[in-house]
Amino acid sequence: MSQKNRIAGGQIDRDTPLNFTFDGKSYEGHAGDTLASALLANGVRLMGRSFKYHRPRGPLTAGSEEPNALVQLRSGARQEPNTRATTTELFGGLTATSQNKLGSLSFDLLAVNDRFSNFLTAGFYYKTFMWPAAFWEKVYEPIIRRAAGLGSLSLEDDPDVYDKGFLHCDLLIIGAGPSGLMAALTAARSGADVILADEDFRMGGRLNSETYEIDAASGADWARKTVAELANMPNVRLLPRTTVIGAFDHGIYGAVERVSDHVATPASGKPRQILWRIYSQKTVLAAGAIERPIAFDNNDRPGIMTASALRSYANRFGVAVDKRTVIFTNNDDGHRSAADLHAKGVRVIVIDTRMDARKSPDYEVLVGAQVINTLGRLGLTFVTVRLADGSERTIECGALGMAGGWNPNVHLTCHQRGRPTWNNALAAFVPGALPVGMLVAGAANGDLSTAGALAGGAAAARKALGLRGRLPALPLAEDAPIKVTPFWYVEGASRAWLDQQNDVTVKDVKLSYQEGFKSVEHLKRYTTLGMATDQGKTSNVGGLAIMAELAGKDIPEVGTTIFRPPYTPVAIGAFGGRHRGQEFHPKRLTPSHGWAEEQGAVFVEVGNWMRAQWFPKPGETSWRESVDREVLATRGSVGVCDVTTLGKVDVQGQDAATFLNMIYCNGFAKLPVGKSRYGLMLREDGIAMDDGTAARLAEDHFVVTTTTANAVSVYRHMEFVRQCLAPDLDVQLISTTESWAQYAVAGPKARRVLEKIVDQDISNDAFPFMACANITVCGGLRARLFRISFSGELAFEIAVPTAYGDALIRRIMTAGEEFDITPYGTEALGVMRIEKGHATGNELNGTTTAANLGMGRMVSTKKDSIGAILSRRSGLNTADDLRAVGIKPINHDDTVPAGSHLMNTGAPVDAAHDQGYVTSACYSPNLGHHIALAFLKDGENRIGDTMRLVSPLTGVDVEVEICSAHFIDPEGERLRA
C-alpha cells in the first residue's frame, strides 16, 4: 500500500481516491485531504527548503499559520508560488513542486548556506553588502535576488477571473469552530441574517481534529449536524473556503472566497476567487487559537510539528506521521495529543517540562525533562532529551509534537488600532480594545475548553443581537483547563528556530538585542522575525518572550507587533477583480462610434471616452498625412467632428443667470436669450479651472459646456456652489452630457451643408456668430444649434437626442458630399485650435491665471465670482508675469516641442534664467512649419523677439520667434462670415 502512514478513521472520503504529483512523482490521496496530509500519508515529510539556510523542512502545522510547507501549486500560467500545502485542498490531477532549491529537494546545492550560518546571522546583509558602493547594483543585488524569495512567478497572464462582491448581514461570524457554530445557531434561530465564514473547506474548526464529545456524539458529528441545520435556514449564508482578511471601519469586513481553488481549473465563466466586502451590523470573531512551538536546537527537521497538528493529521485526516512519536509539552493539552495518538496505535513518549506533570498508564511520561537536540538529515530520526536529573537520553522517533501552549487568534481584533492584552494564566495575548461592533468568543477569547467555546459563542451572539429571555440549554461538552507553565525555549539553545519561514533563531533575537535593536518593531526589521506570508503566527510571541527575558521585563511591557490586514496572503488578482486589460475601466462610446469604425477611424482614449483621433484614407502612410489633410479640407471647405464628449450641464431656474455670474469670472447676467458666450471658471485661489460656453436658450434656461476631462469635477463644483454657497437661489442642475449627440460642422461651406438639414434660416443675419437656439432638423426632430467655433472657421455645433446621433452624422455626411465634407478627429481639432491660439487643458494646467492666458480683462470687477478676489493678489499680477504667446521656428524645418523652455539668446541655460515654456505644439499644414503655444514672461511685450528654445533632456536647442498666438485669421473674420 502506497499510503503507508494512512490509519483508520478521519473525515476523508476513502471511496474517492485522488491522484496527484509532487516534484514529478505520483501519489494517491483522498477527497478531504490537504496536500500536506496526503503527502504525509505517503510518508513524505520533506516538502521544502528554508528561506535563508536552505534547511530541509516539512509542515509545522495543519492550518493557515503554516510557515514551512510552501509549494508551487499547478503549472503553466496557473502556477502559484508559496502556496501552503497545509490548506491546499487535494483535487485529482493536482501538481505541486517544491521551492527554493538548487538541484533537487533532497540534495539542494544552496544548503551550503547552512554551513556558513555563523556568518549569515541577523543583519548579515546590512553589514556585508555596504561596500564597495558600486558593487550593490551589479554584483550583490543580482546574487541576492536570485538566492532570495521562495517560489517563482509564471510570468504569464493569469488565465483566471476574479470577482468582487458585496454582502449584507445582521451578524457576521468569523470561524466555524464550536464557538462560531454555536453563535450561528443562536443567532439564526432568532431570525437574524447570519453569515458564517470559515477559511477551511470543512466547517467545524478544531472539532474536526479532536476526539471530544458533544452531547454524547463526536464533536465532528455535532459540527456536521449543526452545519446541516444552518445550511437549511434561509437567513443563513455559509461561506466555507472563505478567509476574512480584514476588519475595516464601521463593520465592513473583507473576505476572500476560494470558489474554484479546489478544482483543477474553474468552470467556464466562474471566478477563481471572490473578494467580498461584507457589511455587518455586528460581528463575532471565533477564530480559534494557534498552538505555538517550543524553541530547542534543530527543532525544524521534517517530522517536527505542533502537537495539535499531529493530532489533526491523525484524527481528521487518518494519518499517523510516524508510528514512534515524541510529544514535548509544557501543558496538559500536550497530553491530549499523546492520548489521541496512543489511541490510534502510535507509540508515544511525552517529555513534560513541568515537575508536577501527570503520569499516564498508556504512555511513558518524562517529568521535568526537555528535548535538547534532534538528528536526521532530511527528516527526524532521533531526539536527545535532558532528563530531570540532568542525564541525557536518546529516543528514536519520526515525529515530534511541540505543545507550547495556545495563542488566541487576536489578529482581526487589532485591525482598528486595538492592542491585545497579556493573560498570565494562559501565558498568551488575549483581545484588548475591539473594533466597534465586534465581539470575541471561544478560543480566540482565551476560552480554551469546548464547553467554554460553546457557551461563549452563544453568549456573544445573544449580546450582539440584544437577545433576551432564558438561555437555551447548551450541548454538553468537555471542560478542562490546560494548565500551562510558560516555557519558551530550552536553556542554552542557539540554533533553535523561532520563525521557520524567515530562518530566525533564538540566537538571532539575542544578537538583535545586543546590537541595540530592542524595540519589537526594530527586532522585526533587523531579524525579519514575523515577516512574510505567515506574518509570525507561530513565532511572534516566542520572540517577544525572549526579548522580555533579555530586558528583564514582562512580556506585555515589551509590547507586540501590530497585526494588519490581510490575515493570510491574497492573490493580487482578487484585488483587481474584473478590472484588467480591456476591462480596466468602462469605455464610453460616442454616438458616431459605429459610423467612425466603418470609416476606419483610429481611436484614442480621452478619459473613458473613445474618440476618433484621425480617419486614415487608403494610401496614407503616416498619421500626419491624414491629420494635415483633415485640417486643410476643413479650412478649405468643410469638416465634421463628434464633440459629444464635452460636458453638458442643464442650468435652469429663475436665478440661473445669477448662478452663472457666480461660477464664471466674466458676466452672464446680460446675455440675451438666443446667444452663447465663452466663459472662464476660476478656482477660489484665482487660478483658471475650466472653460466652455454657456448658451441661453430661455430666460431661465442655460446649457453650459465643460471640457471633456473636467466634466465630472466641474459638475461637482457647480453643485458645491449651488448647495453650499447659494442654497436659496432658484437653480436646478442636471448633467446632460449623455443625452445629446453633438457635432461640430466647421469650414467655409459649413452653412451650405447645414442649410440642407436644419429646418430654419441660418444665414448670417438670422443666425449670427454666437447665436444659439432650440430648432428642428430633417423635418421636425428637436435639436439645438450653436454658432460657436473652436477651429476658427465658420462653424456650428448641432445637437440631437443621442439616439439620433448615428442617423445625424450619416445625414451630415450625405449633405456634405458635394463639398467633399471631411470627418476630422481629435488631432486635427488640436492643430486647428493651436493655429487659432485657443487654450485647452495644456494651458489651463492648474497653475495659470486668466491674466497668464491673456484673458485678464475678462475677470469682471463689477460683480462677485468664485476666484475673483484672489485673482487680483499682487503675487499673481507681477510685471513679468507669464503671458500666452505663439512660437515659430526661425528655421522652418525645426520642431518646437511641448515641454521645451524659452531662454534669452546668449543667456545661460538653467532654471534661474528660464523665461517660459511651450504648452502645445503641432505642425501647421496651413503655414507649412511647426508652431507652438507658450507661456513667456512679459510675453505681450516681446512679440517679434528671437529666443532660444531648449530641452536639454531631449536635445532640443532651436532659435524661435515670439509671435501672436493667433496664427490664423487673427481678426476673426472667418468665424463671423
Binding site: H250, I252, Y279, V436, C724
Partner: protein
C-alpha cells in the same frame, strides 16, 4: 467607512467624493474691507485636528447631495451627518 446619509441612510463612503474642511461653506464677503486677507485664509488655511472634524462629502454616486460629516479623524467615528444646504442656510448663506 459608512456614512449615515440624512435622507438615504447608511451608505459606503466609496460612493462619496471628499472635499475636506466644511468651513468652505463660510465663504467670506467679497465686499468687506479685509476681503483679500479673508479669502487668503479661506482658500489656504486649514486646521488639521486629531479628533472631531467637520468635513464636506459629495454623494457623487448617489443623490448628488453635499453633506457635512462630523468625523473623528483618529477613530473614524462619525458623530453627525447633515445636509450641506441646511448647514449653509444656518450659516446665513441664503441671501
Amino acid at each position: 467607512m459608512i456614512i449615515d446619509h440624512p435622507l438615504l441612510g447608511p451608505r459606503d463612503s466609496a460612493e462619496f467624493t471628499y472635499m475636506g474642511d466644511a468651513r468652505l461653506i463660510e465663504r467670506p464677503s467679497p465686499d468687506a474691507e479685509d476681503a483679500a486677507a479673508a479669502f487668503y485664509e479661506y482658500a489656504y488655511l486649514r486646521d488639521n485636528p486629531a479628533g472631531l472634524h467637520r468635513e464636506l462629502w459629495f454623494h457623487e454616486a448617489g443623490d448628488r447631495s453635499w453633506l457635512v460629516v462630523t468625523r473623528n479623524t483618529v477613530t473614524h467615528e462619525i458623530a453627525k451627518v447633515e445636509l450641506a444646504t441646511d448647514v449653509a442656510r444656518a450659516k446665513g448663506r441664503s441671501t
